[in-house]
Symmetry: C2
Subunit: 427 residues, 2 copies
Amino acid sequence: MIEANNPSLRSWLEIPANSDFPIQNLPFGIFSTTSLSARVGVAIGDKVLNLSALLAAGFLSTSNELPFTESDYSASTLNPIINHGKAATRLLRARISSLLSSDSSELRVATDSHSACIIDLSSVTMHLPVNVGDYTDCYSSEDHARNVGKMFRDPENALLPNWKHMPVAYHGRASSIVVSDTPITRPHGQLKPSENEPPVYGPSRLLDFELEMAFITHPGKSLGQPISTEEADDYIFGLVLFNDWSARDIQKWEYIPLGPFLGKNFASSISPWIVTLDALEPFRVSGPIQDPKVLPYLEYSGNSHYDIDLEVEISTPNGDSKIVCRSNFKHMYWNMRQQLAHHTVNGCNIRGGDMIASGTISGPKEGSFGSMLEISWKGTKPVAMPDGTERRFINDGDTVTMRGSKKSTTGISIGFGEVSGKLLPAN
Amino acid sequence: MIEANNPSLRSWLEIPANSDFPIQNLPFGIFSTTSLSARVGVAIGDKVLNLSALLAAGFLSTSNELPFTESDYSASTLNPIINHGKAATRLLRARISSLLSSDSSELRVATDSHSACIIDLSSVTMHLPVNVGDYTDCYSSEDHARNVGKMFRDPENALLPNWKHMPVAYHGRASSIVVSDTPITRPHGQLKPSENEPPVYGPSRLLDFELEMAFITHPGKSLGQPISTEEADDYIFGLVLFNDWSARDIQKWEYIPLGPFLGKNFASSISPWIVTLDALEPFRVSGPIQDPKVLPYLEYSGNSHYDIDLEVEISTPNGDSKIVCRSNFKHMYWNMRQQLAHHTVNGCNIRGGDMIASGTISGPKEGSFGSMLEISWKGTKPVAMPDGTERRFINDGDTVTMRGSKKSTTGISIGFGEVSGKLLPAN
């Protein structure tokens, strides 16, 4: 076991009950305050550890075998930290765990340093945690792919022929990935409301969310060198919640033959705290039996799926809200190891800070579908909201919030916080 | 007229006849030498101007209204220069033009500075000129789209319904864009040689080039703010030649429904010198009549296409070579202004150093097709090489070289140099 995951660990800092951020989590993010520029932090309970201050106070010295320098901790993205590789970030998490442990007095007794090193979470502004080099979106939930196939193609052959042979994916837009709480503007574009009329220009009428998770990579191998499923974990730093906002009407008219483009690239929102893959170790579960058998480069051994409860809430402008989806990351057909092995099988190189999203995470039952497209079944089953209105898709002024967390069998609850975004009217 | 384009300008430096880089060009790139780390250079004839040395010698002082600092010129990518915006890079090109002009003695007589500032092109190593934030590939040549449609779909309805309504595009991979002369490794992947058999894993058997050009952007507007066709030129820094290497068999099996992925993202090669949009002013020509009429956001005025002769040469391992394509950038149906307006119509933001490629540039006639797929018509019309071998696609050991240049009516020839890449066998 990774010692930082030990369920018997307790912190000398008081952790609020049901916090997403117990000492067994220690997610990384980029925060600022009114007096501090954006820099690296680690969440613990309702506090943020200021890593550059911890370094200055002598708690992250190289005697702890940490390879990081001041510029890594004071950077405005996590890329410099992530670029040191998995072994280094694992050491850093272990060191922070040790500093926060009730077994250690080192930081606890250094009360002079507390005000600089330990900051109220409520007083910080969170920023996009990484400079995303490339962003890839997969399509790895069988239930989602089947739902879409049933709605738009042949219900009897809902999955396309390649779907069970590879984790189908496409490249998305890195520049428009924004951090939680960034407002999203309803996009304009070409729409084709009538089959026999020419397209029209206007605001999207079918604005949707997609419930996804995304993993962030360490630097990979050189161009031309694949990463195997066995090696994949070494290149995955951690995960965030990911809302892949989608304009269904723009997407439908544009996507044949080269895939989604303007229907997706106006914005994607992510949660600010990157939960390390290490912290998710206790939540590993087995995946579905893959039939037909996959090609050898996609074979894997051991539990490679993750049991993380997910939910999506829509809040209306008047403050009412409703949970419209409860799903789980374990519902994926293709796991992250397979996604990364597939992505690099042709020698495609990955860089530190690249983001690979799961695709919409739908479960098998109604109530677990991860997009309004599926929840309202193309608009045929509107969702009744507490304020008496209905939703087929997202309305101007609505806020979409996604959350993810899980309590382990040992009683430790690890969470991702949330990713939230309010939809503003078209300009 | 932009003064730096004046056809009567002559340089006091001797420019070899038929050089791609007369004083009217002045393309930007990143070079290094055995004693200098990678930094910003400008090509002139068979020389490279070392801009950080020019600054140190006092020739690029801020008294010339140049906003650039030493770190901009000594950076290992052009992003810092490009991020200053169009007005700034235009001033820089004008200042360099003036320094090199035979009307000016300023640099000419400063012979003490010549060895540091003026370096033989033959002695430098060229690097990827920009850190590409996002790379987008368009599909904007009607002849190419028709050829593909005829081969793979209905010859009577070769163009898909959306094609004449928008410059169809998709996101590609930024990490695997490499500079000319970087060897390319034949990729492995999933292939489906037989309709009724399951896919197999192996090296691509149908490795192709695509003749393209790509433009590099200045920083755009904020997320949510479109760029109009009228504004587009202000956000285009310059262009390069672009070889969008493609594995046709991987692409064919993977691309439905989300578009090309591993069939493309193993590598794309670009020429090292970015020719500014300004330098291409004398080569503006009108485009095709667009029928049906485009939506208002895609309308444009004035000549917005560019007359640039393009060619593709295949060299075999024994040194024989053959020009297999002669095309021209003016054959595009959709121009760059339209591509950028479409890309941002939904508010998608662009950053400095983003790259937007044209898609394969095929002309209307045999001999002007921009890919082996079209040249060999899916392998049915093999190309006879001088050494007696045939090519349906690219063989291991072949080198593909693309060139682009044009002589203006005033006798000035502007060129892009070349993008070249040798195909290595699969690992």
